[in-house]
Amino acid sequence: MSTTVDMFRYVRDENVEASPPPNLARGPIAWMRENLFSGPFNTILTLVVLYLLYVSIPPLVEFLFINAVWTGADRDACRAETAGHPVGACWAFVIDKINYFVYGSYPATERWRVDGFFALLAIGVVWLLWLRAPRRDLGAVYFFWLFPLLSYILLTGGNWDFRDSFWIGFIVFSILLVAGIALAARALKTSMRAGLIVGIGIVAVIGITLALVEIDWGLEHVPTALWGGILVTLLVATVGIVFSLPFGILLALGRRSKLPVVRLASVIFIEFVRGVPLITVLIMANTMLPLFLPGDMTVDRLARPLVGVAFFASAYMAEVVRGGLQAMPKGQYEGAMSLGLNYPQMMILIILPQALRIVIPGIVNTFIGLFKDTSLVAIVGIFDLVKTIEASRIDPNWAAPTISYTGYAFAAFFYFIFCWGMSRYSLGVERRLAAGQRH
């Protein structure tokens, strides 16, 4: 270095090879000095935090594990005076009630059907979320068509009784639909064959769905009033998550549309649903939805909050997605347009993949919020996990001082596992995508 400082003319005659930086301090003591005690303020902070941990962690561990009661048949096991020792969490209560927490009042002999639903759900989730899973396109077909259909049959029993007149109506409708699509294809000067294939495909999907629902599988009918617990929580969350993303994307695109009618409709929907508490939406869905429908038509009492939750989540999702769309540089639109891509192609191939990637944290944030908000369906009389715990903790058989805490701790544990899982998964996806294309 010194050579260049006091010289007026200089020409380099050798390259300086790259070398490692001067020895970095390593080892636990160096780490602690650097990260925990690097100054008086940080030292004080470290000590305060250590004190708070000392105050809070041991009693928590003592309550949840050391003094916890793991076995027992009724309240005597969990009362200090009968058990003869201090009692913490009463896990025996959770173990005793676990079937109610998982299945609600679903008939005991039919609970294997709920297990089947959990298994189908797990297959679908792994297939879609595992990025290197084989045939993820088939996975999407499974998750968005086969899985809901099979779950519906499995959980309710299916065996709808269509009259013959219904099937005649369906056949007429199918012929009209196929003919209509073929004519539209002709009018738009696109391939007639493709139009026919699409039309027949749609009819086949609807037909198979209806036929499967009509077949008597020999499953006993279980009304939704009996469903409850984790079954309902997962069902509401899944429906909300699955519907909110596509609807949210459509609403976000609608809000940025150049057509005033579309834009206005999207804005009104988003602002109205977002400006109202979820509880209100649920109560409205529960009591007002039947008023809008023709008199002889009833909507299942579990389906009503499902619709409410899906709408509510869509409005939030729309704003998250809009944030991503707004972050896209104008040049991406112009690049796509200059190549002759039309609007749907530009959105699906260029804009949305990038915009959604930007807002993965926001999307997962909404999912996590939605997952926990499902506990509000209890307001309209649906027995989700929290409601089953609420109902069990006042059971006189288990009247003991720590029963309520134990029940809520169990709920907290359940929600935390799922939300933390979603959060970790999204971090993993972000990291993977970031590794693919560094800027």
Partner: protein
């Protein structure tokens, strides 16, 4: 700036230079709100003609060429591209965009797709070309811009000059009849300007119809058939490069040239 590229592929534009105009702009006006950005633009571009457009910033030169593929809408006058008049008809706009390639100042590559996918996307989705054929075409043009080895990287892993050459290759994959360049070298590091200009010279040598907004006066002298100077949204002066640089007529042109050719 000699180029060593050989012309294996003859663009459609070179086939019949006598045919009708590639681009016609007749009495074109455009406003941004109250602001009159383009005023009375009249321009006829013959097939195979190379035109360089220069002028101070805000003079409307970018806006003018962006009107040719309807990234900007004109409010008065007529624009006819390759025999198709630009109106609100979306089908016609798509038709024109299929035949008009555009290269931007900031490349506008798609960062989530590889170089090869950037090049094959439009042929596959717009021209319905089979994937294999589209990949062959893409590799052909990537070889032409001398970066076939980068095909499986992402745009973010390439230098600015390489990205701009990919952008040119991406446009060429659609076999355009007309190429628009909007300050293609303005965002590049000085060391990378030449590689992009070389590519453009090669394209010009093959007879591509080109409209190029640039301040690279060396490039203008070497390849342009006509140089246009714009100011205040108007075409102020238009001449062969020889006359334009040697003997500018308008006072504003003289001032501009004295500013940039120090």
């Amino acid at each position: 700036m000699a180029t060593t590229m050989t012309a294996q592929h003859i663009p459609a534009a070179a086939v019949d230079p006598q045919a009708e105009a590639a681009v016609q702009m007749i009495d074109v006006h455009k406003w941004y709100g109250e602001f009159h950005v383009l005023r009375d633009i009249n321009l006829n571009v013959r097939r195979g003609e190379r035109i360089v457009i220069c002028g101070p910033s805000g003079s409307g030169k970018s806006t003018m060429i962006r009107c040719i593929n309807r990234l900007e809408e004109h409010q008065k006058g007529r624009i006819i591209v390759d025999g198709t008049e630009l109106t609100n008809d979306l089908k016609r706009i798509d038709e024109v965009r299929r035949d008009v390639g555009m290269v931007f100042q900031h490349f506008n590559l798609f960062p989530h797709l590889t170089i090869l996918e950037n090049c094959t996307l439009a042929p596959i989705w717009v021209k319905k070309m089979p994937r294999k054929e589209a990949e062959e075409v893409a590799m052909h043009y990537l070889t032409r811009v001398k970066i076939p080895e980068q095909a499986n990287k992402y745009p973010g892993q390439l230098s600015g000059g390489q990205q701009q050459r990919v952008a040119i290759a991406r446009s060429l994959c659609m076999s355009p009849k007309i190429m628009l360049f909007d300050e293609p070298t303005s965002a590049l590091d000085p060391e990378m300007v030449k590689e992009v200009l070389d590519t453009m010279v090669g394209l010009a040598d093959e007879g591509m119809t080109m409209l190029c907004v640039t301040h690279e006066m060396g490039f203008a002298r070497q390849v342009a058939d006509r140089v246009i100077f714009m100011d205040y949204g108007q075409i102020v002066e238009m001449n062969t490069p020889d006359e334009f640089f040697r003997n500018p007529q308008h006072e504003r042109t003289r001032l501009f040239l004295s500013q940039i050719l120090h």
